[in-house]
């Protein structure tokens, strides 16, 4: 390696530009693979992008913190994106007001069951407290999940990984489990996917049926709200 090239390399690997460009390029590669191979749930674009970036960083010998200094500009937009969820929430709120009671009971049951069963199973199999706390908000869209995780003493970046895996699991096995419990109502099927598996579940529901997609979006927004309010309260009751 010539000295000039080495200097350029040192500069690039420390500047935000490289991390930012790598993030966008890897995501577009992930989208391309997802579209190219028939939009299979297992080929989730986020997962592909994450693996591509992680592999690139390891090969280039760049640590995560250095990468994140650049990628944080993308990460920052999670805040305004969370605020923007008010728009679909409002649009669907008008449309589904009539089944409000059924939605509310299903939401509270599903939200509590997702969080409690995750913590209970992890606890029964001997997971550490940090891991359990990071698992608790994993059914919620990641801007909210990471905020909740931080508040209750989990690791936000570990929670983000769990959130993405949860979405992929629901997108892959959701149809199967919904058929197993014999739920045929599109509204209920979509709502289940949205409450338990946030944006990735919603994207999956939208692929199958428009009504299911609308109820999934509503479920995602409402569960974000419920989890953000309830989990920190539950944590204070049980852990402190």
């Amino acid at each position: 390696m010539s000295p000039d090239f080495h200097e350029i390399w040192v500069y690039l690997s420390a500047s935000p530009l490289a991390g930012l460009t790598l993030t966008l390029a890897a995501y577009q590669a992930g989208m391309w693979v997802f579209e190219r191979f028939g939009r299979r749930p297992a080929l989730n674009p986020v997962m592909i992008a994450v693996l591509l970036i992680a592999a690139t960083l390891m090969v280039a010998g760049i640590d995560y913190r250095t990468y994140f200094d650049g990628a944080q500009f993308v990460h920052f937009l999670l805040g305004p994106a969370t605020v923007a969820l008010a728009v679909p929430l409002y649009r669907q709120f008008q449309q589904v007001r009539r089944s409000a009671v059924a939605l509310l009971v299903a939401l509270l049951t599903g939200s509590a069951a997702s969080a409690l069963s995750a913590v209970a199973i992890a606890w029964a199999l001997g997971a550490s407290e940090r891991t359990m706390l990071s698992l608790a908000p994993k059914s919620v869209t990641s801007p909210i999940a990471m905020g909740v995780s931080e508040q209750i003493g989990g690791l936000p970046s570990l929670t983000a990984v769990f959130v993405i895996l949860t979405g992929i699991i629901a997108a892959s096995f959701g149809t199967w489990v919904l058929n197993l419990v014999r739920v045929t109502d599109w509204r209920a099927r979509g709502f289940g996917l949205g409450v338990a598996a946030h944006g990735i579940g919603t994207a999956r529901a939208l692929q199958v049926n428009e009504v299911a997609g609308a109820f999934a979006g509503l479920g995602m927004g409402l569960n974000g709200l419920v989890t953000a309010i309830l989990l920190p309260v539950l944590y204070r009751l049980f852990f402190t």
């Binding site: 997962m47 605020v83 409002y90 009539r98 891991t131 698992l135 690791l155």
Partner: protein, 124 residues
């Protein structure tokens, strides 16, 4: 675009300030979401530019997960050491969550006023 981005950031900022001042256990952006939601209820509709900007951001929502997802690198040791509890907890709780939410909702709405609008026959 610029105006609505300012609106979204203002809601977030107001949310952060509210959370901190009142010591609420809720992330600032979530309070910002509630503020915007209440604002839309009061106004009684979504302005066209807000619809466009929000739609644009939410369409690429999954991109925003990527930087945090790469954090998997920082947790490889933990994921390896606790692989079994993590895998079973994620798989079990996700399937329980999907099934239970959908089942409760379908049972309750069957008895409700929406029963006649159910399209049970042609579900997959």
């Amino acid at each position: 675009m610029l105006g609505t981005l300012t609106l979204l950031l203002s809601c977030q900022l107001a949310g952060e300030l509210t959370a901190r001042l009142l010591h609420l256990p809720v992330p600032g952006p979530v309070i910002g979401m509630v503020l915007l939601f209440v604002g839309l209820l009061v106004r009684g509709g979504v302005p066209e530019p807000l619809q466009e900007t929000a739609g644009g951001i939410l369409r690429h929502l999954s991109l925003l997960f990527v930087p945090a997802g790469v954090g998997v690198m920082a947790h490889l040791n933990r994921l390896e050491a606790e692989a079994l509890p993590i895998a079973v907890a994620l798989l079990g709780s996700t399937l329980i969550g999907v099934a239970l939410t959908a089942w409760v909702m379908s049972v309750l709405s069957r008895r409700g006023p929406d029963a006649e609008s159910r399209d049970a026959e042609d579900a997959p």
